[in-house]
Symmetry: C2
Subunit: 231 residues, 2 copies
């Protein structure tokens, strides 16, 4: 082990221990949900149908719709799965791995927007059914942030960081993707399995304690959307 590496490690450890660089991020647990294309909104809810807003979500422009659907897998089904709006390019279903067991399918852990070759699922709406060949994923943990936050925190879009959550069920999450855009508000998104594993309460803050891998220069989600990707 060379002298420079030891020096860098020591600096990092001492800085962290002195708490000079607390980088706190609010954490929100995402329950299962579905994003629908315009065509699929019509398929499930009827011709010319438009999603009705129930409430705004934390990310600007995004909302929980009044509409829900049923997911049907080979082993089971899950009812009342919330539709998120507005309608977007591709339909995408996000569930936890636990939901995958319930349905009898294996959603791959993917960044939003990266659905190629992902799991298939059947979606039932009040006016029609949709058989998705792909589109079911388990959303990979990520942090939305404005470029101002990224600058403050010393991170870049596409970085993978470690986030520490304290408490009886304290955990440190690895491979948390930084997604920076002027459209984003500071918030970390994890799924219900991860929230339960960390004993997460509403309003819990996580701390970015290390950059694990700097950006690959391809933009946040690595799906080729070049940072214009989905939530």
């Amino acid at each position: 082990m060379d002298r420079e590496k030891i020096k860098a490690l020591v600096q990092e450890v001492v800085q962290n221990s002195l708490g000079q660089s607390a980088k706190m991020v609010p954490i929100a647990a995402s329950n299962r949900h579905i994003h629908l294309s315009v065509a699929h909104v019509e398929r499930l809810f009827g011709r010319g149908y438009e999603l009705q807003k129930q409430k705004d979500l934390s990310q600007p422009g995004q909302f929980a719709a009044k509409e829900t659907v049923t997911l049907i897998g080979p082993k089971g089904k899950i009812e009342k799965v919330r539709v998120l709006g507005p309608a977007r390019g591709d339909t995408q279903v996000e569930v936890s791995l636990f939901d995958g067991f319930t349905l009898g399918v294996k959603p791959p852990v993917r960044q939003s927007g990266n659905i190629k070759g992902s799991e298939s699922i059947t979606v039932q709406g009040p006016r029609g059914q949709l058989i998705l060949k792909e589109g079911l994923i388990c959303a990979a943990r990520h942090i939305h942030m404005h470029p101002r936050d990224a600058e403050t925190f010393g991170v870049s879009d596409g970085d993978l960081v470690q986030v520490k959550v304290d408490g009886d069920r304290g955990v440190i999450f690895s491979n948390v993707l930084i997604r920076s855009s002027e459209r984003y508000k500071l918030e970390m998104h994890i799924d219900l399995d991860e929230a339960n594993a960390a004993g997460l309460q509403n309003g819990t803050l996580g701390e970015i304690i290390a950059i694990e891998r700097p950006s690959n220069g391809m933009g946040g989600c690595g799906c080729g959307c070049n940072g214009k990707g989905k939530d």
Copy 2:
């Protein structure tokens, strides 16, 4: 920050980076299950009934029984919950926090055996029903090990350690309790929420990377059982 503390931190970091002290532990995910007292076996399955072994578990003497029960909460029920044997002193039900949502109850995160003031639940068997005032918990993460392993790893019964799991969903679990006894075989136990959050595959190994808090001298589970506790 004083010189001694910095020195200790540096030693720790350098040791870990050199990989001189890899302390690997096999991890097993525990699905929901119930331990029953002799009296409660009879209440649920009939007078004089004895549990039938289906298969041995990793911890010596413990087995999965052929019998299952149904858990009934205010919001929902969960069927086919496995009974573990042999019958023991107190009945104890272990579920995940997700199961808690399904049932409509809030199991506290506790070490096995520490059920005082824990959540209530109704248990249905083929021959009778049991209303537990307390006994429903979410089992806190822990590592069973033989005193020989403890010596090798440089840990003691009752220590709280950090365990790192690699992979796309890599996490570091904090507050993992060391439970050392001659009756135990080396294995870390987590619940399904935690296993999913870590993307755990069968046979995954975790690495003990730090002792967070040394033993309080009260024995492993902190429940007053003085190390004679349950699994």
